[in-house]
Symmetry: none
């Protein structure tokens, strides 16, 4: 089956938002064995939206649209779907009732253009939208299918997973199964070189590496008649990959490193506390992303200034003067202070220069020290990240902290 | 002038990379007064690339392509440009020399397909590429222009700024100026209903609303002969908008609420400390996003557990038992504790239920209390967010904290 992803929204053509919907949908459709032939983006202009849908149907059987379902005036996708596939909009009382409740919940008044959202093509399958006020729908005529979803990624992704994906699965004939195998501690070219013998004579399953921030993900994919066949082929290849590069693999299931770490902490009931300077709370914030972390996450300190490092963690003022806040010594004392104050089995700290200011010849922007203690044993790591933006460096610093905790747990045979 | 941005690359259709080129180019073209009518993305398939270029020229005068200029076999954009605008590829000796140097620099040997990169349409304007091995070019015939750039964003953006932009500026006749006016505390439907009289008879300037997480942005755009005229028209409309919805506007220049708040804190040298439960450090992390915040950001506490709230902030154990951690009383005592320990002029705290677990009939997931004190005056707000995901609720909680601080500064006439 061949598909087109059509994004509707003038704000995309103005460059005001990055179109992440197409990335998500392209991956998902490929996963379902549906070939994505084109991405089209068009403004909130009925004539052009209709033209693009017709152009898509010249070559493809499926058009997935995002956007143009909101309550505002420029929302015309539903009308156009009807024109193209010969149907008419009718009021769905049940949707109207649901909408009234949703609007009331938000303490807002029902407006004329809210009511418009209760109209759908008479033949359409309607997809509920529990996280927004715009339900989606699919309409079919003579094997041509159009499925329309709202534009906001949060609404679209949930609707796709819960409703559109099952709807499409019943249509597609081949199944692609793939695993995203995540590694850390090895570069892309090195991993590719190591796996070249496996990559070179690949037909199915296929192997592909791609670099993410600070790590490399390996995609092993197989397209077969049944999910079972595909999964079996992928897992056989995975074993071959493990034989070569197993030591760098931390997940064979596309988990984040942070989640792998948090899972182990909770499973083994290992308490953790943290102290952050340049990351300013992002590590703690990432810990708390993990449901259930409350059982082991004891204390988080954001010690951005030198005063805070002294008063909250007891870092020596001499240490700060002699070695500066960004030094192995300060990182070490931050962890020591954490230990004293919290008694957590794992204490992790970070101090670094995220920029844009504050870099020197000797201590450039991107210099970040991460430190960890496990049952009193302390390790400090020096990281030197490229100076390509404050937030990028802070993100890499958080990853480095999790990497350090991961290695510590691994050394203790707790992973 | 009407333009299409054509992205060439199968990896985009596989969802392996996010297409940020289109965002960058759309913004740049709009600033140049060039209307972006469509984004097309197509794989490395000569037939489809050619079809898309021809489709683009049916309606537009300018096609900007990215990708398909590399040294690999599926790089056919140049050939297709020639077919479409009737030219032929000829070897450019000067480019060949330059290429040989580039390849040598990288310590590689010159390959057959490197040489291919020195061929360009005979009539084309060639754009140098100092950060890669694929120069770009523009080709024109009877007012139809195709400009081709490499795919890697780093190469494309530099080439655009240095060469393509000047080339286009000489072609364009109109200028678009727009403001992104950001509001908080009002829904999209309501804002649009309030502004309907202004929106309905819009021709130029145009008004459009769109919803972001927790807030609504209003775009006011005008297209005139000169930047001055366009800016004047937009600012006149802005005054009309302010007269209707001014109280919800926090930025007329597309700033984030958090940045508006941080800017004021730094400018007025108002010290701030924070204590976070459900957001687990994300508020502090967002503060630290703002360069220069170190002069006023004093302390950050992540008090995720009840123990932490008692020991780090001195919240009464009776309070926690009687009212629970997620209560107006606990939020109030968190702020009181912050005040005592930090003496910061602004202390802000949050406690809530982000889920997925922990919700009750009386205290559902999404219930979040935000509290602030300014020079000792305390305000506590009860927020009830929809239960659509832990991270979403936490993001909204951070926004609510900044919203509360913003309103506080506003009441004190510090904004």
């Amino acid at each position: 089956m061949k598909a087109v992803i059509l994004s509707v929204g003038t704000e995309i053509l103005f460059g005001q938002i990055t179109n992440t919907n197409t990335v998500f949908l392209s991956r998902e459709l490929n996963h379902l064995g549906i070939d994505v032939m084109y991405h089209f983006t068009v403004g909130d202009n009925p004539v052009r939206v209709k033209e693009m849908i017709q152009r898509a149907f010249e070559e493809c059987d499926l058009v997935l649209t995002t956007g143009g379902l909101g309550p505002t005036q420029d929302d015309l996708t539903k009308e156009i779907a009807c024109e193209t596939l010969h149907d008419e909009l009718v009021l769905h009382e049940d949707i109207l009732e649901w909408l009234k409740n949703e609007v009331a919940k938000r303490g807002r008044k029902m407006t004329e253009n809210n009511i418009k959202q209760a109209y759908f093509p008479s033949r359409s399958v309607i997809f509920a939208n529990p996280v927004g006020t715009a339900p989606g729908f699919a309409l079919e005529e003579n094997g041509k299918i159009i499925a329309c979803m709202p534009g906001p990624p949060r609404e679209m992704t949930k609707m796709f997973k819960d409703h559109v994906k099952p709807f499409l699965q019943s249509l597609s004939d081949d199944v692609i199964f793939y695993r995203l195998v995540r590694t850390i501690g090895i570069g892309e070219s090195q991993l590719e070189t190591d796996l070249l013998p496996l990559i070179d004579n690949q037909s199915d399953p296929t192997l592909a590496t791609y670099a993410k921030e600070g790590e490399v993900t390996l995609r092993i994919a197989s397209k077969r008649k049944t999910l079972e066949e595909a999964e079996k082929a992928v897992d056989e290849m995975l074993e071959k990959v493990k034989a070569v590069s197993g030591s760098y693999i931390y997940s064979t299931d596309d988990e984040e490193l942070a989640d792998v770490v948090c899972k182990r902490l909770v499973e083994n009931n290992i308490t953790i506390s943290c102290a952050e300077s340049c990351t300013g709370g992002l590590f703690a914030g990432r810990l708390v992303d993990y449901p259930g972390i409350s059982s082991v996450f004891e204390r988080g300190f954001v010690t951005y200034s030198d005063d805070a490092k002294e008063e909250m963690l007891g870092v020596g003022s001499q240490t700060l003067q002699k070695y500066s806040a960004v030094s192995e010594e300060t990182a070490r004392e931050m962890v020591l202070g954490l230990q004293k104050r919290t008694g957590s089995r794992i204490c992790v700290a970070v101090t670094g220069i995220a920029g844009p200011e504050g870099g020197t010849e000797e201590k450039p922007v991107g210099l970040v020290y991460t430190a960890v203690s496990f049952d009193g044993k302390i390790e400090v790591r020096k990281n030197l990240f490229r100076n390509i933006g404050r937030n990028w460096i802070r993100g890499r610093s958080v990853l480095a902290m999790f990497h350090l905790v991961y290695d510590t747990l691994k050394n203790e045979n707790l992973i």
